[in-house]
């Protein structure tokens, strides 16, 4: 499957070294959002959900050693590069690119509009060093950084587990991180952008979801849909106590919908909503 698609794979391929220690690279394989299923079957939907443009895959081989595979994605924007990186946050920070994780032979990182995965088919001290070296060299070859999603700026810092924030566009990915409902009751529809953050206060873990819609009218419909399907008994404050004796609160501010899940108290839920609204810059009653 050699390149057949729109963005050129040439510049991307140029970021990946041809050799790493004793390993030599094989021919590149290039996939776009239509052909990615030929490479990673249905799991390609994850990358499509982040609007992937192109994938360059390069395998490194050395007889007697485990192969190392680089999968290097052009996600089209740095927000989506961050997003696909945030899909799987297990591992230790490898301090590569603008964010990275390493665990059990697998390195993931993002920088600018690119997401990289470097994987050793068997982890040994030698392959671990090679994987990390490859990642560093690829990241260093990418000439610039890119901005992280703007929505991150709306997350109140107090109690935030900053390394566990995910960014996405559809309800399947939301449910991957935190099940809300089996349908798209927030009307994300691949057109919204959302961040899901983890908080811990006094030993209680809660979640904060902030969704930005293409326009305010869509946010209004989404907020109505969420309220109707998830918290129909809530009053204007969008506040309900759920079956686990925790609190869910929601609000809309312009084109943004905010939901706090699993707050330990009514006050904690409302305070977090207010903190987000303050950061958005639209204080006051957001409800319509």
């Amino acid at each position: 499957m050699i390149a057949q698609s729109r963005p050129s794979a040439g510049p991307m391929a140029g970021f990946i070294p041809r050799t790493i220690g004793p390993w030599l690279s094989e021919a590149d394989h290039v996939y776009d959002a239509e052909t990615i299923f030929q490479y990673i079957d249905g799991a390609g939907e994850v990358y499509r959900s982040y609007n992937m443009k192109l994938l360059v895959s390069r395998r490194f081989h050395k007889d007697g050693r485990a192969d190392i595979v680089v999968d290097f994605f052009d996600m089209g924007s740095s927000e989506d590069a961050f997003g696909v990186f945030s899909h799987d946050l297990d591992g230790d920070d490898a301090k590569i690119g603008q964010g990275s994780n390493y665990k059990a032979g697998l390195l993931s990182f993002w920088k600018d509009r690119y997401f990289g995965s470097v994987y050793a088919e068997e982890e040994t001290p030698e392959t671990r060093a090679a994987v990390l070296d490859l990642g560093k060299r690829i990241a260093a070859a990418i000439p610039r950084n890119g901005p992280a999603p703007k929505l991150l700026a709306f997350l109140p810092p107090e109690g935030l587990d900053a390394g566990r924030t995910s960014f996405f566009h559809n309800h399947s990915i939301l449910n991957y991180h935190f099940f809300v409902a089996d349908g798209d009751i927030l009307l994300l529809e691949q057109t919204a952008s959302a961040v899901l953050a983890s908080y811990e206060t006094a030993g209680v873990k809660s979640r904060l979801l902030v969704v930005r819609y293409p326009d305010e009218a869509k946010a209004v419909r989404a907020y109505e849909s969420f309220s109707r399907n998830y918290s129909p008994e809530a009053g204007r404050a969008g506040l309900v106590r759920t079956g686990d004796r925790k609190w869910t609160a929601s609000a809309r501010a312009g084109d943004i919908v905010i939901v706090v899940f699993n707050a330990e108290s009514e006050m904690a839920a409302m305070n977090r909503l207010a903190a987000v609204e303050s950061l958005i810059g639209e204080p006051g009653p957001p409800h319509t």
Partner: protein, 296 residues
């Protein structure tokens, strides 16, 4: 949205959210086996199923499959078991799975082939294929199908299942990706598939219980379970395999850790598409061989 959504709150009303992904829809109206009947599933395991390198031992796999079909079809002789479900005049496609990292394995494929041939099917009337099934002349004319694939977690469908293994019977698999593959069971009602499947083998020799990275595979998240799950009912086989994966995740992570993508296609295959039985109370589980570490 015309139907009632199932939300997080519905689960919080009744129980912990933890088993959510694994027990997603079975609370809905149950269908499948007739009242009073259960779908029989055989879980056969052997401590010697794998050699020191982790490769399956063909002679052990053959014995495990023989034992499983005897238990499944209530016979003492494997050939009699095969003859009870395959006719000599059948044209048989063995739908395998060739995923590089975790394939069905040749040992399982060849054991199935021998079983089919023991029913009197000549070798030129059977084929083993995965991605080429729509072009394979044997599969195009098949009167019977055998379905075999490994159990694994999957980044989009939640779990790679017997149900999902038939996605190669459609020209555009991505047409079935909506709602994280919710309606995969629809494939089983297509004319070239419907009613032809005689046996399902969910291979749990080295199952994958956690997916990471673009390919979803890391050897660290496999373990030598040394088993086969065999059933005529693909939904029951998959639901049983899912229990194994969830139990392993609980053991490995030290807490309930549902599959991130809900494998609801298993339960919807039951409740929406009536393909088989997904709930434990409608499955007759027969355990053969090694019991230690069975997890379920």
């Amino acid at each position: 949205m015309s139907r009632k959504m199932i939300s997080r709150r519905d689960f919080l009303k009744v129980a912990s959210i933890a088993p959510l992904a694994g027990a997603f829809v079975p609370s809905l109206k149950a269908v499948g086996p007739a009242a009073g009947e259960k779908a029989r599933v055989v879980l056969v395991r052997d401590a010697n199923a794998l050699d020191a390198s982790g490769a399956p031992r063909p002679e052990v796999i053959q014995r495990m499959l023989d034992d499983a079909v005897c238990a499944l079809f209530d016979t003492k002789d494997p050939a009699a078991a095969w003859k009870s479900t395959i006719r000599p005049e059948d044209i048989v496609g063995i739908k395998t799975n060739s995923w590089t990292e975790l394939p069905t394995t040749s040992a399982v494929e060849q054991a199935l082939k021998r079983g089919v041939m023991s029913a009197g099917v000549p070798e030129d009337k059977l084929a083993i294929d995965d991605r080429g099934v729509l072009r394979n002349p044997v599969f195009k004319n098949a009167t019977a199908l055998i379905n075999a694939r490994p159990a694994r977690t999957h980044h989009w469908a939640g779990m790679g299942t017997c149900i999902k293994n038939y996605i190669m019977f459609v020209p555009a698999p991505s047409d079935y990706h909506a709602d994280t593959c919710a309606d995969l069971a629809k494939i089983w009602s297509l004319p070239h598939v419907k009613g032809k499947t005689r046996l399902n083998v969910l291979v749990v020799l080295t199952p994958l219980f956690h997916s990471v990275g673009p390919h979803g595979y890391n050897k660290e998240y496999t373990w030598p379970y040394g088993g086969l799950i065999v059933s005529r009912d693909p939904v029951a086989a998959d639901a049983t395999g899912l229990r194994v994966l969830l139990a392993k995740r609980r053991e490995h992570f030290g807490q309930d850790r549902p599959l991130p993508m809900t494998p609801h296609h298993i339960f919807l295959a039951d409740t929406r598409h009536h393909l088989g039985a997904s709930s434990e109370d409608r499955i007759e589980l027969i355990r053969l061989g090694r019991q230690e570490g069975s997890l379920i």
